[in-house]
């Protein structure tokens, strides 16, 4: 009984509630004629799509910069990489890897400036980050129009310039990861092996990084910057590294998302990507200064599971479209919950 209690405390009520709600949705599914195999396939797919953006939260949380509300910077870098890869007519796996490679320098530079800024506003990172993200998205709205792209699949048909809001990656690198070694069972179930392997690879690299000397220093900076400084660690440098890594992972994350989703979404599309990533890692049990790979995996599965299952199951049950409402309540509610926990961090 005692074990159960400590387990619940460790795991946290929000996770348990969401977990059981998810189970309930799966149980209900067959009754409203939603196919279970298709649902599971969907959840796996969406988990893979989003996991790397959730993973992008980890380095900044560990280094004490809080939740990366400025993930939009990474996402925009990824969009730049993706659109450039299309512009250069890169196809297949080359196109996908090319997109990541082309995004990297943008992530590096943007991340570096972003870090400069966040190092000036220690203690208020999250608020500032949010505004940085939003205003940068707006800035890019102008840039998408005036940048000299000319691949006909990407630009507005009537003007011959300016990028479209939605660009398909079909014919370039659509589902390049999803289809890699994919296992098909029956008509509805697909196991996206390549996608999950790719996510697994990044999670493993992050795990290795956090156990390296630099990763250890970064964690110490997040835990107590004064201690780290007294031990000869350059606090600002560690924070900068974490922010650059986070921005880069944001870029990789959105490219992975696009190859699975099928479209590059520009203009204001990046803004609604940020909160779900933040909410997912919090649902996974991360606090605003401690996060682990388990938090990423559990959080993404629970959150994306919820997003996948509610439209089909709840909508069929209630005959109304509730999914968006639930998504917003859960993600914002979770962020709110986590921020109120901030006080518990011992100093």
């Amino acid at each position: 009984m005692r074990n159960l209690k400590t387990f619940i405390e460790d795991f946290g009520w929000p996770r348990i509630i969401i977990f059981f709600f998810l189970i309930f949705l799966f149980i209900m599914a067959p009754f409203v004629r939603v196919r279970l195999d298709a649902s599971i396939s969907d959840v796996l797919n969406r988990f893979g799509q989003n996991a790397i953006m959730v993973l992008a939260m980890v380095p900044m949380i560990q280094s004490g910069c809080g939740l990366n509300f400025g993930l939009a910077l990474g996402i925009v870098s990824g969009l730049l990489g993706a659109t450039l890869s299309l512009q250069f007519q890169l196809h297949g796996i080359l196109g996908f890897l090319g997109a990541i490679a082309l995004a990297a320098p943008f992530a590096l530079v943007l991340g570096w400036f972003y870090a400069k800024l966040l190092n000036k506003v220690k203690g208020e990172e999250m608020t500032i980050a949010m505004y940085v993200g939003f205003s940068f998205i707006m800035f890019m709205c102008i840039m998408w129009l005036i940048l000299p792209y000319n691949n006909p699949t990407m630009v507005w048909g009537y003007a011959g310039k300016g990028l479209r809001t939605t660009i398909t990656v079909e014919g370039y690198w659509l589902k390049i990861l999803n289809n890699f070694l994919a296992i098909r069972i029956g008509q509805f179930f697909v196991f996206p092996t390549g996608l999950l392997l790719f996510v697994g690879l990044f999670a493993f690299l992050m795990w290795l990084f956090l156990r390296s000397k630099t990763g250890t220093a970064m964690t110490a900076v997040g835990s107590n910057p004064d201690f780290a400084r007294a031990s000869g660690v350059d606090v600002d440098k560690m924070r900068t590294i974490s922010i650059i890594i986070s921005t880069f992972l944001g870029a990789v994350g959105i490219i992975v998302y696009e190859q699975s989703f099928g479209f590059i979404q520009l203009y204001t599309a990046p803004s609604p990507m940020v909160f779900p990533a933040v909410a997912a890692i919090l649902i996974g049990g991360a606090s605003i200064n401690k996060a682990s790979m388990v938090n990423v995996l559990v959080g993404t599965i629970l959150f994306q599971g919820l997003l996948t299952m509610t439209p089909s199951v709840i909508n069929s049950l209630l005959q109304t479209d509730m999914s968006e409402v639930i998504r917003i309540i859960v993600s914002n509610g979770m962020i709110l919950y986590a921020l109120t926990r901030k006080i518990k961090v011992s100093k």
Binding site: S212, T219, A220, D226, A230, G232, K347
Partner: protein, 532 residues
């Protein structure tokens, strides 16, 4: 001056905080027009005594006190500072309690403004009265006039020099008509010498008008200059209550510092050292509250060098500055090599270790395991406790080695913990301090700074910490620079002790030196005074 029955009489006052006795049977009287100099080391009980006098809630919350306080012949029981104010006590604090955006006048008459009722009073009460600025200004000028100084009644406090702020506070207490007893807690601490001089004159003048003054200061020459009577507190006891006649600074110093004289804890073995390990030349450190102005000293190889002095004089700034934690300048040479300042990593890499006085703030990763706490610095500075993976392509934390290291120190220093994976915040103060020491030892420093190693830990742990330092010094030849507020502790372990006063080294003494000499150095008496 001093005649008649006492205005204020403190009788057999004792006070303990949860069994820790801070005041023990303290009694003394204060007469009209008398200036009483109250002196004592940090922690002698001065502050607690003043809190009792003022009826601060903290006293009642911690179980009240024994004994009685008698003002004007009748016993008083203050339940809040307001009662004390009504009874005629005025207090000038060490930190200014003024409103920066208000003028001198407004601050002086604050909450006692001269007012005239307005029409709104009928509805909203007194709060809607109209201020009589002329009257207020008049009162302020009168109070300032009483002090016999120049002070612009219309100047904003934020624009004043510190001296004027201090005078404004005093004027505020004077303006209260019933004020008969004025208590000043270290009023000259923030003043320049000339400002302090004016202040002392002012106090004398106030005393001549019949106000009784309790003057708390660690600057003994000031106490000697103005006090009629001197009361010395030490460890909660009144060790001396004497008129200020034929009393020398040296006397006061030894009363203040000395346990019973003759019983010195010093265990100097008269060790001789030749090589110089650390040379510090004109060091300055900008550490808030512990500013180091100009400090030069040498530390010999293999010695334990003590740095003492009162709080806020800059002794803590010295190790913090040398280790690069606060902006510093000057020259520091470790075994012939210049130590770059403002660069903690370089200072550590050169073989210096530091145990911070701020255990929870700087010393520990409270939310991490003991293994992390002990091994972290060594890992970052010397790349230890890392293992190569894939033929040296990259390295990973060596958790096994970290655990072994931690276990070694847990048994060596007798650290009480449930496991090496326990979080540092769960340990007691003494055990946390041992973790801090272990962290410093783990980098195998040739020179170790320990700052306030026994602050806030119990007696048993204190002894263990000091023994450990002694052991490392004797058996491994680690040169140790120990900074502590506790003189006895320094005298028990150090080979030489430097006393820091106002950001400068006031003097360096052997631990066997007479206790009064330490007291003199701490009290801001210049070296010449000692030599004279």
């Amino acid at each position: 001056m001093a005649n008649g029955s006492p205005l204020l009489s403190i009788q057999h006052v004792s006070k303990d905080f949860y069994g820790n006795v801070v005041l023990h049977d303290v009694s003394f009287d204060l007469r009209e027009g008398e200036i009483l100099g109250l002196v004592g080391e940090n922690g002698a009980g001065k502050t607690t005594l003043m809190r009792i006098l003022f009826g601060m809630p903290v006293i009642a919350e911690t179980g009240g006190f024994q004994g009685s306080v008698i003002i004007g012949g009748s016993e008083v029981h203050f339940s809040s500072p307001f009662d004390a104010l009504d009874a005629g006590l005025g207090m000038v604090h060490q930190e200014f309690s003024l409103i920066p955006g208000f003028t001198t006048t407004e601050n002086i008459v604050l909450n006692r403004e001269s007012m005239r009722p307005s029409i709104l009073n009928d509805v909203f009460g007194d709060r809607m009265s109209i201020l009589l600025r002329d009257k207020m200004r008049e009162r302020a000028e009168k109070a300032i006039g009483k002090l016999g100084i120049e002070l612009d009644p219309d100047m904003l406090v934020s624009e004043m020099p510190v001296g004027h702020k201090q005078f404004t506070e005093i004027a505020r207490e004077i303006d209260r008509e019933q004020t008969r007893i004025l208590i000043l807690d270290e009023p000259t601490a923030v003043l320049t010498e000339s400002e302090a001089e004016v202040l002392l004159q002012t106090l004398k003048r106030l005393a001549s008008e019949g106000i009784a003054i309790i003057f708390i200061s660690h600057r003994l020459q000031e106490v000697l200059a103005i006090a009629n009577r001197i009361v010395v507190l030490r460890d909660g006891h009144v060790v001396k209550d004497t008129p200020n006649e034929h009393v020398s600074m040296r006397d006061i110093a030894s009363w203040m510092v000395g346990r019973s004289l003759g019983e010195t804890g010093a265990r100097s073995e008269g060790r001789k050292f030749s090589d110089i390990a650390l040379k510090v030349h004109h060091l300055w450190v900008d550490m808030p509250g512990e500013t180091v102005r100009d400090v030069s000293f040498d530390v010999h190889k293999g010695e334990i060098f003590g740095i003492g002095g009162l709080a806020g004089q800059g002794k803590l700034g010295i190790p913090n500055g040398i280790m690069g934690l606060f902006p510093a300048g000057g020259e520091v040479i470790l075994e012939g090599n210049t130590v770059p300042l403002n660069a903690p990593a370089k200072a550590l890499a050169m073989g210096m270790g530091f145990v911070s006085e701020d255990r929870r703030g700087v010393g520990l990763l409270l939310d991490e395991s003991l293994e992390w706490n002990i091994a972290f610095t060594a890992m970052q500075v010397h790349r230890q406790y890392l293992k190569k993976v894939l033929g040296g392509l990259f390295s990973q934390r060596d958790e096994r080695a970290m655990e072994d290291l931690c276990k070694e120190y847990v048994s060596l220093l007798d650290i009480k913990c449930t496991s090496t994976k326990q979080k540092a915040k769960e340990l007691s103060g003494g055990n946390q301090q041992k973790i801090c020491l272990a962290k410093a030892f783990a980098i195998k420093p040739s020179l170790l700074f320990v700052s306030e190693p026994t602050r806030g830990i119990d007696v048993g742990a204190k002894k263990l910490v000091l023994d450990t330092l002694h052991h490392y010094n004797r058996d491994f030849g680690t040169t140790i620079v120990m900074v502590s507020s506790e003189l006895e502790e320094l005298r028990s372990i150090c080979d030489r002790i430097a006393i820091v006063d106002e950001g400068r080294i006031a003097g360096i003494l052997p631990p066997t030196a007479d206790i009064s000499e330490f007291g003199l150095l701490m009290s801001g008496a210049a070296m010449e005074a000692v030599n004279a």
